[in-house]
């Protein structure tokens, strides 16, 4: 049969974000596939060199659109390591609350996104409405729905508003009550189940070859390889939580892990709200001259566990006001570029969207 070239994206409802998958198909079996990134390239790494450390705070959340807080966290952690700042205890807990709320929101969004390749739009509506509640909570805490610029080097920008605990608890209770309903709607639904079981498996041996991290890796190698456990940052070592794993990584087990992480995140937020001490939330930078704040020379690579895996910032300071070089390791770099090229061939045409959804391919962080 003849090979035919097809494009999935950039203008395609099944594609998450502005990227394109080029596929050569024979019938509906993919023969070769490539990701064409770069449509969201805006020269971030260059832009950060041209702004001061403090100005960069407003730039970094825009690196990954759906999950801005991990960017802030990784940047702040790197700057603190280089400058030798100790963050107040209360700020650590506030950071964890923000990060876990963000993780909830992105898991909900990608679980809802499962609706479009499987044709189940009800799921999408439910998930996005719940995500909107999280965005409203964020707005109360930080003043903005999506880009918070809240976690900054030295702590967080402001203390939590009074009474926000009730909002968070109300939302968590609501989500936990409807958790079973969510499962029934999506992953236990026979039509969806038939579609995602045994679809696009990821064997454990190739995980290392690709460099895939996050849920994709944990569900394949069956070990709790989560940066929050392996090299705990913030105060994750004081919190009691589990890392969901599986021993066979197909679309279903990856979605399943994602849903179990929702439960874990809920419990982490509850523990944080219980353990949070009183006190300062920020140490002042640069003795009142924060616009001219400088950082000692050095190279640092700071990592955070995002919902897609290891998300890192490589930062070089030459002692000046601006960073000398900032490199971003997008968490979805391996599964997006190499994963699509190596493990999509041989699967069916309509499974490409499922790979993009369940592995979590976020195009803005690939392109920067």
């Amino acid at each position: 049969m003849k090979e035919m070239k097809l494009f999935l994206g950039p203008q395609h409802p099944g594609m998450h974000g502005n990227a394109s998958v080029h596929m050569y198909v024979d019938g509906d079996i993919i023969k070769r596939a490539f990701l064409l990134p770069g449509m969201l390239h805006r020269g971030f790494e260059k832009g950060m060199e041209r702004h001061s450390w403090i100005n960069n705070i407003s730039l970094i959340p825009r690196v990954c659109v759906v999950e801005p807080d991990i960017n802030e966290m990784a940047f702040a952690m790197g700057a603190e390591t280089l400058a030798g700042i100790t963050v107040p205890e209360r700020a650590h807990y506030i950071r964890m609350i923000i990060l876990e709320l963000a993780r909830l929101s992105i898991h909900l969004m990608s679980y809802g996104g499962l609706g479009s390749p499987t044709g189940l739009y009800t799921l999408m509506y439910h998930a996005h409405t719940d995500r909107n509640t999280i965005l409203n909570i964020f707005e109360k805490i930080t003043g903005h729905r999506v880009y918070h610029q809240y976690i900054i080097p030295g702590g967080v920008r402001k203390d939590l508003p009074i009474g926000i605990e009730e909002d968070i608890h109300a939302f968590l209770d609501d989500l936990e009550n409807r958790y079973e309903e969510y499962r029934d709607l999506g992953i236990n639904n026979p039509t969806v189940l038939a579609r995602i079981t045994d679809t696009i498996p990821l064997p454990a041996e190739v995980v290392w070859e690709l460099g895939v991290t996050g849920i994709g890796m944990r569900s394949a190698v069956n070990k709790p390889y989560d940066l929050r456990k392996v090299m705990p940052y913030a105060r994750y070592d004081k919190i009691d939580f589990e890392v969901p794993v599986a021993d066979y990584s197909d679309a279903k087990s990856r979605v399943d892990c994602k849903l179990q992480e929702v439960i874990q995140s809920i419990s982490i937020i509850r523990q944080c709200l219980k353990l949070i001490p009183e006190g300062d939330v920020r140490v002042p930078l640069g003795r009142g001259q924060s616009m001219r704040w400088t950082i000692p020379k050095g190279h640092v690579y700071s990592v955070v566990e995002s919902s897609r895996g290891e998300f890192g910032y490589f930062m070089v300071s030459n002692g000046g006001v601006n960073p000398y070089r900032v490199g971003v390791r997008g968490a979805s770099y391996p599964q997006g570029l190499l994963g699509i090229e190596k493990y999509l061939p041989g699967t069916r045409l309509d499974d490409a969207a499922l790979w993009v959804d369940t592995m979590g391919v976020c195009s803005p962080e690939i392109d920067r």
């Binding site: 260059k46 290392w208 460099g211 190279h299 490589f314 770099y333 570029l337």
Partner: protein, 196 residues
């Protein structure tokens, strides 16, 4: 977790016993960096891979135009002994060539391609690394080099919007500037105790 400092020590021993380390920094309890000779990089990475650092986390470059050098960075990670290792090496800036590490870490394919695109470093051994990946029809020097000025490029290529006046007053309020000046006058008046 508890013996993470000893992990760093172990790594240092592995590398320092068999290779010449130009500079070593312990950045935190989970991170250590080594600056090594260019020729040693491949054997060090192979050694690290066999001793458990099986994941290539990041590969990129830094431009140091004053010293006329590029600095290449390889970051590897071991999930069982949680230490990030930075292996750094320096290349000449005039003709930057570094053999690809594709046989050791297949995951480096696109990192190297991107580094070539943004810095112009050649990686023989990585097929197709000279094609463009992120940019399209690029017509200038590689953009992450320090001597490339994005503002000049942007001014040349993209027209800025011109504003004929600074603001448009839609609902008849006082402009901020006028309000500020009035406030200043008032403060001065109050300071002088109401006298003119």
């Amino acid at each position: 977790m508890t013996n993470s400092m000893s992990n760093v020590k172990m790594v240092s021993e592995i590398i320092e016993n068999s290779y010449k380390v130009l500079k070593k920094e312990v950045i935190s309890q989970y991170q250590v960096s080594f600056e090594v000779n260019k020729d040693d990089v491949h054997s060090i990475l192979t050694l690290l891979k066999t001793s458990g650092w099986i994941q290539l986390s990041y590969l990129s470059a830094i431009d140091w135009p004053e010293e006329n050098e590029f600095e290449l960075v390889y970051i590897v990670f071991n999930w069982d002994k949680a230490v990030h290792i930075q292996i750094r090496t320096r290349l000449n800036r005039e003709n930057p060539v570094m053999n690809s590490i594709l046989p050791i870490f297949p995951g480096c394919k696109y990192y190297e391609r991107e580094t070539h695109e943004f810095f112009g470093i050649k990686f023989p051994g990585n097929p197709g690394h000279e094609k463009q990946l992120i940019l399209e029809e690029w017509d200038d020097i590689p953009p992450l080099r320090k001597d490339f000025d994005p503002r000049a490029y942007s001014d040349r290529k993209f027209v800025k919007r011109e504003y004929s006046n600074d603001f448009v007053n839609l609902n008849g309020e006082k402009s901020k500037q006028i309000a500020r000046e009035e406030r200043k006058e008032k403060i001065i008046k109050v300071r002088k105790g109401g006298r003119k």
